[in-house]
């Protein structure tokens, strides 16, 4: 019997970003199941890891900081903590999921630089090594400490959605969650999927067009989110050791097998600041980057 493939375009809003999934399906039931399970998967991740939902697991963990209370966690959260731990180890403490607390000093509404006293107050609250966690529970030991899976969860969500669609026998498609892309599989004719990277200097322009048959693309940088204080552009990526915004790179995109890996590598490249480009080259990553001076470097 000849397969009647139909292409499905599924666009929606999730995790605070516009999302778009495109795939080939062979039946209406497969489409219904796919949409239902995608919604369910993303709702679950948002319910657990969104900082903006006051009853999310991450908000409950953050509220418990300093109360000496161990918050029970599920296997998926434990696995994400283990992944975050690996990022912390491999980056010698530069990629730290407890650094989100710095955002209160550098929020977009602020128009002045934080004082040294403010930095001295917040910096001790940062440090993944202070967090006590096991496979079953987590304790944030200091009042004010925060956990933030930015740079991990949205990318992990893209990988998860791609895998759950594969489990539904969908083998051709692409998942894009707010700019993070994971390929489910090549198009039925063997062609790759068009994936583009925006120009960090003119975000409405495409600077790189790729054609991906597999793997993932994730980006980190200051496309829209940066702040100007006294005419100086400050990144929203904050260095956990200095407490200050990074400088050096304006944006980085990385292609890798898994979106979550591409995302953490891109964030890490940003965190490397002035050494970012050298680090990307030294690790032989497939990358596109734009330096603060507007200079473009790429291997993609």
């Amino acid at each position: 019997m000849q397969k009647k493939w139909q292409v499905v375009n599924f666009a929606f809003q999730a995790m605070g970003s516009p999302c778009h999934i495109q795939f080939y399906a062979s039946s209406q039931r497969q489409i219904d199941l796919a949409k239902q399970q995608v919604n369910r998967c993303l709702a679950r991740l948002e319910q657990r890891y969104s900082r903006y939902l006051s009853d999310s697991l991450i908000s409950r963990i953050n509220r418990s900081a300093g109360l000496g209370k161990a918050i029970p966690i599920d296997l998926e959260t434990a696995a994400l903590l283990a992944y975050a731990d690996q990022c912390y180890q491999d980056s010698e403490g530069l990629f730290d999921v407890t650094s989100g607390v710095l955002r209160q000093l550098w929020s977009l509404e602020k128009t002045t630089l934080p004082s040294a006293a403010e930095l001295d107050r917040v910096l001790p609250l940062i440090g993944w090594e202070k967090v006590q966690w096991t496979e079953h529970s987590i304790t944030l030991p200091l009042v004010g400490m925060q956990l933030d899976f930015g740079g991990i969860v949205k990318e992990y969500a893209a990988d998860s959605v791609a895998q759950l669609l594969r489990n539904l026998e969908i083998h051709s498609g692409v998942v894009e969650l707010g700019g993070d892309v994971k390929i489910i599989g090549a198009q039925p004719d063997g062609q790759g999927w068009p994936v583009s990277i925006r120009d960090p200097r003119q975000p409405d322009q495409v600077i790189v067009s790729l054609n991906l048959k597999s793997g993932a693309l994730a980006s980190s940088g200051d496309y829209e989110r940066f702040q100007l204080i006294d005419g100086v552009r400050y990144s929203h990526i904050l260095n956990p050791k200095t407490g200050k915004p990074v400088s050096g790179l304006r944006a980085v995109s990385i292609v890798s097998e898994h979106c979550v890996v591409a995302g953490s590598l891109a964030t890490l490249a940003m965190l490397k600041g002035e050494q970012g480009l050298a680090w990307l080259q030294e690790n032989q990553l497939d990358f596109f980057c734009c330096q603060n001076d507007g200079e473009i470097y790429r291997t993609l």
Binding site: K3, S26, Q30, E76, D159, S160, Q163, H258, N283
Partner: protein, 383 residues
């Protein structure tokens, strides 16, 4: 140093559950399950009807164990056939038990399964109790995935001990039963599988029905008397095929052959079509045909020459056929909260049992023909 960080992070990423291929593989799902079923079975001509309530639940314990419990309450009422006799015209007539009695049966079963990489072990036991009948059983089984999970071997054994103390009689008799199952399931390709199960059972002890009689022309009635041993062999073959192009429909075709040393041979064919419609509604029409020939010692009525020491007029040991089918409707709701999944099911089946439906024909007449139906409704909740 080069590539090290990619390898290290990729390895860590592979431990994330969302990246694992088929998160359900190799292990019973980590969900709690609860089921409630209500069923009503009724035979034509005000014969027996049964109301069934079945509650079951299962829960994972640790990483490898699953505990399941199941409780059934059956309420039986109505008349049942006792024996047959000939009327003035020489026609065979069925005599039903007079008073409409109500009987209650309770049964409980518990089982524990232990899942290893490719092998799942199962141990269980249960009891069943009626005012005149007590039964207990133990069972154990093993399921073994081979050949990259394309082949599954099933082996199980069970033993049961039953005791009957018939109302109105002053004795207690017992029987023991053993049953062994050997089965294999083979995935043929992405869309089809075949399953073959063989069961052997051996019963010994009191196998007669204390409430049934036989009529002997010129000799009155005698008690039902069956051999003290029974050996049974059943062979079920199932073919299942998935049709992705028909909105994920599926066909199940079953054939079962049965033979025992009481002289009964039976064949059963069942076809079921599973059709998803929209919004997780599934409709399942099904059809079944069953035929058996009579036991060696069965007669509708006996005479003094042929009554012998073993004899029965139980309609279940007669030659007959059953034809029927029904439809089942299922609707699932997938939820995000504490409750993950709710499944509602309702089914209706109707069967017609006739002597003349026996394969190859049967001239026993229509005296023990009847029809029956079964309605069920159930709710399954996963959380």
């Amino acid at each position: 140093m080069s590539k090290n960080i990619i390898n290290s992070l990729s390895l860590a990423a592979l431990a994330l559950p969302g990246l694992m291929q088929d998160a359900h593989a190799g292990r019973a799902e980590e969900t709690y399950n609860a089921d409630i079923l209500y069923g009503h079975y009724a035979e034509s001509n005000q014969r027996m009807s049964v109301d069934i309530v079945n509650v079951s639940a299962s829960a994972p314990i640790g990483k490898a164990f699953t505990l399941a419990v199941d409780f059934v309450s059956d309420t039986m009422s109505g008349a049942s056939p006792m024996f047959n006799m000939k009327d003035q015209n020489g026609q065979v007539k069925q005599i039903l038990s007079g008073a409409s009695i109500t009987e209650q049966r309770y049964a409980g079963v518990a089982s524990l399964s232990y899942a290893l990489e490719d092998v799942t072990l199962n141990f269980g036991g249960g009891v069943s109790s009626e005012n005149d009948y007590q039964s207990g059983h133990f069972n154990t089984g093993l399921s073994w995935d081979l050949n990259k999970k394309l082949t599954t071997l099933n082996i199980s054994a069970s033993v049961a001990f039953d005791e009957v103390s018939p109302t109105g009689y002053n004795y207690t008799k017992s029987k023991t039963s053993q049953q062994y199952l050997l089965g294999v399931t083979q995935i043929l390709d992405k869309h089809s599988l075949v399953q073959s199960n063989m069961t052997f059972s051996y019963q010994n002890g009191f196998l007669s029905d204390p409430y049934k009689l036989v009529f002997v022309e010129g000799g009155g009635v005698q008690s039902d008397a069956r051999p003290g041993k029974k050996f049974q062999w059943g062979w079920l073959t199932r073919y299942a095929r998935h049709f992705q192009d028909l909105n994920d429909a599926a066909l199940h075709a079953d054939y079962r052959f049965y033979i025992d040393d009481w002289g009964i041979q039976a064949h059963m064919v069942e076809l079921q079509w599973q059709q998803p419609i929209v919004d997780e509604w599934i409709i399942m029409p099904r059809f079944r045909y069953y035929t058996q020939n009579q036991a060696d010692f069965y007669q509708s009525v006996f005479n003094t020459q042929n009554v012998g020491s073993v004899h029965s007029s139980d309609y279940r040991l007669a030659g007959f056929g059953t034809l029927g089918g029904g439809v089942k409707i299922m609707k699932s709701f997938q939820l995000n909260g504490f409750v993950k999944d709710i499944k509602l099911q309702a089914a209706f089946d109707y069967f017609d049992r006739k002597a003349s439906y026996q394969i190859g024909g049967n001239n026993q007449g229509s005296f023990d023909n009847f029809s029956f139906y079964m309605v069920t409704a159930s709710v399954n909740v996963k959380f």
